[in-house]
């Protein structure tokens, strides 16, 4: 019991870690669009399958997957027994962990959907 308590103390999900996956998605989105716009405006052409873009996308997917994994670990924390008359620390943790996990899934797909057009279209028009 004391060992498990230690485990969430180290990797405790909070409201701040909850917004990590959507923030990474937003950052990747902005990066992809700005990079395409600047590349088209300055070079007049799309760089074909650029290394920077691939690395950025992999990094974003990695961070999202990591925060999803942490959330998955923590949402398996055993909940308090009924009656659920008031919110407890464990309830809060389980709720935040589950929400983070779902957001991580959504953000992962969103980053993938943002990256695919770059790979398949590669045209400034």
């Amino acid at each position: 019991m004391s060992e498990r308590r230690k485990w969430h103390e180290r990797l405790k999900v909070t409201l701040w870690t909850l917004i990590v996956p959507p923030t990474v998605w937003a950052g990747h989105f902005l990066f992809a669009y700005l990079w395409a716009a600047i590349s088209c405006a300055k070079n007049g052409a799309f760089a074909k399958f650029p290394v920077l873009f691939t690395l950025g996308t992999l990094l974003a997917l990695g961070v999202i997957a990591l925060s999803g994994w942490v959330a998955w670990k923590q949402q398996r924390t055993i909940g308090d027994p009924p009656p659920h008359d008031e919110g407890t620390e464990v309830d809060r943790l389980r709720f935040l962990a589950k929400s983070t996990l779902l957001l991580a899934g959504l953000s992962f797909m969103a980053v993938l959907f943002t990256a695919l057009p770059v790979v398949f279209i590669g045209d400034c028009r």
Binding site: L116, P117, I121
Partner: protein
């Protein structure tokens, strides 16, 4: 039953072969139609599947369904399968969004949207340009690049059977690369509200076999032979030539060089008869509210008919 027959009849009345994304004559519209069909049928299958699962769940005997099974189904059918299906659709559809490849040798057609007509300039490689209006001819099987712009407000160039629409924005040139694959006579429209006669701003699209297109382009470059009769005198005396060119030059209003060849009058709205042309000259705002052309209501009908007859004899 009677009501549904009426509704079906009304829906069927929208069917046609000359202005419909469901009757494609170009590569882009054809791939869009295929995708539309796959999506519609796929959505139908999914909707029926969901309805079937729902019926099964409601009819299941007590104790047959459990919470864990339900959550598993939500995970698979609610998250994993949709993600995979949507990713697959995206990967399949994205290459179709890529513009067709083009080279400097491709025919360029410059089209300018104006309230409420289309200024057209063919720019074949290595040949002088050809000016026309309210009609676009393209060769089948060859890549054609439309260079689209506008002079007054934003218009949108849309030939539903050929490709998607493209905005025409003043001060900017948008490019639309197309390839027709079936000869025929079709229709395009303005797809961005642009004023009173927006819905009356259309044009004819004629997809021709390459050989006949080349022949047409060569013939059209020669100025048409015109008689110097009463129509010609009235055309000049009424000041029509202040706005309308008869020799394919730059002009304020639509070019009328090969007016007799056109298959509609007034940018795709009237049948090409002498009577319609004369009526348009005397009162353009009746069939085209808001058009820039002034009315010639004081002109006797006989004079308008003479001008119309004279205009129509050229370019035949």
């Amino acid at each position: 039953m009677r009501k549904s027959t009426v509704v079906c009849a009304l829906l069927l009345a929208g069917c046609n072969r000359h202005q419909s994304a469901l009757a494609p004559f170009g590569l882009e519209a054809r791939s869009t139609l295929t995708m539309t069909m796959v999506l519609v049928i796929g959505a139908l299958v999914i909707a029926l599947g969901v309805a079937a699962v729902y019926v099964l769940a409601v009819r299941a005997p007590e104790g047959r369904l459990d919470h864990a099974g339900g959550m598993r189904m939500v995970l698979w059918l609610g998250a994993i399968v949709p993600s995979v299906v949507l990713t697959a659709l995206l990967v399949w559809a994205l290459p179709a969004m890529r513009p067709l490849p083009e080279t400097a040798q491709n025919l360029r057609i410059h089209v300018e949207g104006e309230q409420f007509w289309w200024r057209v300039r063919y720019q074949p490689q290595g040949q002088p340009p050809l000016i026309s209006a309210n009609e676009v001819r393209i060769p089948v099987g060859r890549t054609v690049v439309f260079e689209l712009t506008a002079t007054d407000v934003i218009h949108s160039f849309w030939i539903p059977g050929l490709a998607g629409k493209m905005d025409m924005i003043p001060g900017r040139t948008n490019r639309l690369v197309v390839k027709a694959d079936k000869a025929g006579t079709y229709r395009g429209v303005c797809a961005e509200f642009c004023g009173l006669s927006h819905a009356l701003m259309a044009f004819d699209v004629i997809a021709m076999e390459p050989a006949s297109f080349d022949a047409w382009l060569a013939v059209s470059r020669e100025p048409p032979i015109r008689t110097q009769g009463r129509g010609a005198a009235l055309f000049a005396a009424s000041g029509c030539n202040a706005c309308h060119s008869l020799i394919g030059g730059e002009s304020i209003g639509p070019d009328l060089t090969r007016f007799g060849e056109r298959i509609t009058v007034g940018a795709g709205i009237l049948a090409p008869t002498v009577e319609n042309t004369a009526a348009f000259i005397r009162d353009p705002h009746r069939s085209k509210p808001g058009a820039r052309m002034p009315s010639y209501s004081a002109m006797p009908e006989a004079d308008a008919l003479a001008i119309a007859r004279w205009l129509k004899e050229a370019g035949r």
